[in-house]
């Protein structure tokens, strides 16, 4: 099946770590919301319109994707099992809203999984561009190229004064949401994050945990994104977010240094305990796994742990989720059984890391 390649527990390129600041910035995402002019929006359209919208957008992408060097796989959401939909959600390729399958809809995913286009989500069209590390301009460029290709072939709903028209008034204007995922263990430990979050929200941007609920950010992974979409150009929005993210990264670096200076032994102890838990435990809950992963990742960044790849945090936060665990185990798992499967996943993954890196030390060939 066409969908199979996207369900492999293999890391997508945006989960890798490449470029500057990747010790703190994990990945970057740009989302553009668009609607077609001649159809009612998804909250009001008929199933017949939904099918027409899907067909109109899909055919442009499938026929002309190569003009922007993209090859897409088309996945009709109603033809996919609920477990497979969950897997796509856990991998950030579709939203829970699309997965719910309220209307006829689909997703087109590029070969490298850096672009996914959702059709008939809250808007007719949601272009999502994912990049590893901190690459706002690059991610926007890819999304914008595709957007320009689509607008040559489809007539978007656009208003002189209001810009791109979207279902939700919080997206009207540019229809763009840009976000950077940040690993902020030191700002969390020192509780400085609780002061940063409200300060940022006054500047038209928002910080929140991406995994977990409320104020608690699972794995100390936060997402900073623009809240304004009206009155600023795409360029200005990206520039503001760039500057703010750089400041947060700088503050995280200072907080890390403070911890290293003030309580090095405590920090080292915490990091190695967490590595021990991930390497040897037989039962791992989501919270414990996320906390330990964050510690281990910090240990890698601080060069305390040397034989584990830093992409481990990005990848395992995704692959330790319920649908992926059940997919590997090839059967439905109760929450208790998932804790067993999760522990097994970590043990095997860390053993693998050790083997690969052990070989490297032995000989340099291949």
């Amino acid at each position: 099946m066409a969908i199979d390649r996207f369900l492999e527990p293999k890391a997508s390129s945006w989960m890798a770590n490449a470029g500057d600041n990747t010790d703190i910035a994990m990945s970057t995402r740009i989302r553009l919301a668009r609607n077609l002019n001649d159809f009612k929006f998804p909250y009001a359209f008929t199933e017949d319109e939904a099918l027409k919208v899907d067909k109109a957008i899909s055919s442009v992408l499938l026929d002309r994707g190569e003009e922007v060097n993209q090859e897409f796989t088309h996945i009709d959401i109603h033809e996919v099992s609920s477990l497979h939909r969950e897997l796509l959600v856990e991998k950030h390729l579709i939203s829970p809203y699309l997965a719910a399958g309220i209307h006829a809809g689909s997703v087109l995913i590029s070969k490298n999984e850096e672009l996914s286009i959702m059709i008939n989500e809250e808007d007719h069209l949601r272009i999502q561009s994912l990049q590893s590390g901190f690459h706002l301009q690059e991610a926007y460029k890819v999304a914008n190229e595709l957007d320009s290709l689509l607008e040559e072939n489809l007539q978007y709903a656009f208003h002189e004064k209001f810009g791109y028209l979207t279902s939700c008034p919080t997206n009207t204007g540019t229809g763009m949401r840009a976000s950077v995922m940040l690993h902020l263990p030191a700002l969390t430990m020192s509780q400085q994050i609780t002061r940063i979050i409200p300060a940022i929200s006054r500047l038209g941007m928002v910080v929140r945990g991406i995994y977990g609920e409320g104020s608690e950010a699972l794995g100390n992974v936060y997402q900073i994104s623009n809240q304004l979409t009206l009155g600023k150009s795409e360029y200005e929005i990206l520039q503001d977010l760039q500057n703010m993210t750089e400041q947060i990264i700088e503050q995280e670096r200072r907080a890390r240094q403070a911890i290293v200076d003030n309580s090095p032994l405590k920090l080292e102890d915490r990091i190695y305990r967490s590595l021990g838990i991930l390497t040897y435990s037989r039962l791992l809950t989501t919270e414990e796994a996320a906390k330990c992963l964050s510690d281990v990742r910090l240990g890698i960044d601080l060069k305390l742990i040397e034989n584990i790849d830093m992409s481990i945090l990005n990848e395992l936060m995704i692959f330790m989720q319920p649908a992926f665990l059940q997919h590997y185990s090839k059967k439905p798992l109760s929450p208790g059984e998932r804790d067993i499967a999760r522990a097994k996943l970590f043990r095997e993954r860390l053993k693998e890391e050790h083997k690969i890196n052990g070989d490297k030390e032995g000989e340099d060939s291949v």
Binding site: N37, F41, I102, Y156, R208, Q321
Partner: protein
């Protein structure tokens, strides 16, 4: 009662979830409830509960409570009323923006830190028509002035220019379809 999710442990928590206006209720055990809550992937949450904000700003009066008959704004294309929009926090179609335009400025100003106009990307097609429309507007202003000043020769020229641009606009629309 047995947990709806694992079907093993006794249910101890009632989880009520409202999503897209539909309320679901599930009886879960403490383990499943915790699992459900902790990994609720925030893929694309609305940054704020938009419909709540809207109904705070524009209290929705039900007809029975409000005896004064108010004129109801209805979108001619999708049938959404302004109250529909406030309750759901979403537009039904592109025409809603025009139907509710008189109220939107205030909403956008509150949602987007005082901003009410788009200054970003313009689709290529709209870009050219937008330019022509702005030119026509400018010519019409000049035309009015020249009529007031009784410069009829100038006015005739301007009128012809407006006609020419209007023709282009229609031609452009045909081309775009």
């Amino acid at each position: 009662m047995i947990c709806n999710q694992c079907g093993e442990r006794p249910a101890s928590v009632l989880v009520k979830q409202k999503r897209n206006g539909q309320l679901t209720e599930r009886h879960l055990c403490h383990v499943c409830a915790a699992e459900n809550h902790n990994l609720n992937l925030a893929f694309e949450q609305d940054p704020l509960a938009i419909h709540q904000l809207l109904s705070n700003w524009f209290p929705v009066h039900s007809p029975s409570v409000n005896p004064v008959k108010k004129e109801v704004t209805v979108c001619p294309s999708c049938g959404f009323t302004f109250n529909n929009f406030l309750k759901l926090g979403k537009f039904g179609c592109a025409t809603c923006y025009e139907a509710f335009e008189s109220n939107l400025e205030e909403i956008f100003k509150r949602l987007h830190n005082g901003n009410k106009e788009h200054t970003g990307k313009i689709p290529a097609f709209y870009g050219s028509t937008l330019k022509i429309k702005k030119e026509i507007e400018e010519l019409r202003k000049q035309l009015k002035i020249s009529i007031e000043e009784e410069e009829f020769e100038e006015a005739a020229k301007l009128r012809d220019q407006v006609r020419e641009l209007n023709k282009q606009l229609e031609g452009g629309a045909d081309h775009g379809d």
